[in-house]
């Protein structure tokens, strides 16, 4: 207690600190007021920088963990002779330049060509890194790499704005990144769970459409109809349904545009209806796994397949219906939730309704399950 006595005596006897609380509070108020008057914006900026910094630490952690999982999975499945880490690091910075759009005519084919080249390159890289992996595993590894590439890109962009904001001390640079940070973090977390799902070959939420197609075509013979796409001819409510999906169970979205085009051409355009099933973004407040119906080609991605489908449908005047299963970005790329799995049966019921109402007995129709078929045969 001697030290306490010393400090107390030092404070109140030697320094003669004013003991009137009101005086202290008044002085404190003016000091704080002055600080906020002149440095308010700067303080606000530092708070934002701290917030962005915190998220950046988390992004770095997620990215590094992702890289670790990717390298370990390649080693475990691919049994490479050399360490794949260097090759993985090189691939993380791989980029794609989209075609020039000053003259947009024919841009879809240019984009398709570039995407095909990229896909081939990724497949070759995975083949070299994981020589012991079979085709399914190679597709899963390719998807794992893509998820890690996305995480790496998100981290680099956020780091760029963070460092730029610190360097220029510009409130607006920091502010714009801080404002969209919650959405970016949600996306990064979604990619992190996607990466694990891809590494283990688990079905993901985006595969809802592929699951519906798989459920409809189970037990029927499948044939390859386009690159990484299969079709099964299924009797359905007195009609003939061509059920199209990506070739599973490896991580694959296939080329449903080419598949639908081929089936329509094979049948000389005599297709009564095209029904497309896909996972779609839900709005906040909507339940996960809600099934909705609409018109149009339900397919995401860069737009090449949607373009091809629409061209073909217009050529033969074929009506197109869409059935979507709602989910958010996190659910779409993480292991499939039970609600989404259960929604596949509801979607099949909805397809039956559409088929009965919009087609006649004996008609031919196409049912296309769109999405990544990872973990679904």
């Amino acid at each position: 207690m001697d030290i306490v006595a010393f400090i107390t005596t030092f404070n109140f006897q030697l320094l003669q600190i004013p003991t009137d609380i009101q005086t202290i509070l008044s002085v404190l108020f003016y000091v704080v007021f002055g600080i906020f008057l002149f440095y308010g914006q700067r303080i606000q900026m530092y708070i934002m920088i701290r917030e962005v910094q915190g998220s950046l630490y988390r992004l770095k952690y997620i990215k590094d963990e992702g890289r670790k999982i990717t390298v370990e999975t390649i080693k475990e499945i691919g049994k490479p002779q050399t360490d794949p880490a260097t090759r993985v690091d090189r691939l993380l910075d791989y980029f794609t330049i989209t075609p020039q759009n000053l003259d947009p005519a024919g841009i879809v084919w240019k984009l398709e060509h570039i995407l095909d080249v990229r896909d081939e390159r990724m497949k070759d890289e995975v083949k070299t890194m994981a020589p012991a992996a079979d085709e399914t595993q190679r597709n899963n590894l390719e998807n794992t790499l893509e998820a890690e590439m996305a995480l790496n890109y998100i981290y680099k962009v956020i780091r760029h704005f963070y460092l730029l904001g610190k360097k220029t001390l510009s409130l607006y640079i920091i502010m714009q990144i801080q404002m969209i940070l919650p959405l970016i973090m949600r996306e990064a977390e979604a990619y992190a769970s996607a990466l694990k799902a891809f590494a283990y070959g688990q079905p993901i939420g985006d595969g809802a459409g592929a699951l519906v197609a798989a459920k409809l075509s189970i037990g029927y013979e499948k044939r390859k109809v386009a690159k990484d796409c299969t079709v099964a001819t299924v009797p359905f409510e007195g009609r003939t349904a061509f059920v199209i999906k990506a070739e599973g169970p490896g991580g694959n979205v296939g080329k449903p545009g080419d598949a639908i085009k081929t089936i329509i051409e094979e049948n000389n355009g005599k297709i009564a209806n095209v029904i497309m099933i896909d996972a779609a973004m839900k709005l906040e407040g909507e339940p996960v796994g809600e099934v909705s119906e609409g018109t149009g080609a339900a397919i995401g991605g860069p737009g090449v397949d949607q373009f091809k489908i629409e061209e073909e449908l217009v050529k033969y005047h074929i009506p197109v219906n869409a059935v979507i299963i709602k989910e958010d970005i996190g659910d779409a790329v993480s292991p499939m939730r039970k609600e989404i799995f259960d929604a596949a049966d509801k979607a099949i019921e909805r397809i039956k309704q559409v088929v009965l109402e919009r087609t006649k007995e004996g008609d031919k129709l196409i049912i296309a399950g769109i999405g990544n078929t990872i973990g679904i045969a």
Binding site: M1, F12, Y61, P203, P335
Partner: protein, 139 residues
């Protein structure tokens, strides 16, 4: 002007600051206690109260920041929810749920049925999510 982003450095620095604040807060509380116990010290009771409040606020703030830091560390882990594989017997319809194993996929022919030794099929792979209480709004 290369800057390194290293997550490991922050907790140590923050911990040091927290320790200093805790030490100062404890000193303030002990000083207040000393003043109250010794009327011969030329300091008013108001000041003792002031020190007590300052010490208490310092302690509460330190605990709060410490808890926040811990939460941030916990949040930094990538969650991997348990994935369920449902295996169904094609002959007797017996359903069995087990943890997901690498190589499982929906509609894969599985191992022999536990009951009838018939062929089994993986009919479902999913994760169950316990929804946290969210803000709702009438539809």
């Amino acid at each position: 002007m290369q800057e390194n982003i290293e997550a490991q450095k922050v907790p140590a620095r923050a911990l040091l600051i927290i320790l200093v604040v805790v030490a100062l807060s404890l000193t303030a509380i002990m000083s207040a206690n000393y003043i109250l116990g010794h009327p011969e010290i030329p300091a008013s009771k108001d000041l003792a109260l002031y020190l007590l409040i300052l010490g208490a606020v310092g302690l509460i703030l330190s605990i709060y920041i410490l808890l926040q830091l811990r939460r941030r560390i916990v949040r930094a882990r990538i969650e991997s929810p348990p994935i369920v594989t449902v295996v169904e017997c094609k002959a007797c319809g017996y359903k069995n749920s087990r943890a997901f194993q690498r190589g499982d996929y929906i509609f894969k022919e599985g191992e022999a049925c536990d009951k009838c030794k018939g062929k089994t099929l993986i009919t479902a792979i999913y994760r169950e999510v316990k929804d946290k209480e969210r803000d709702t709004f009438p539809t």
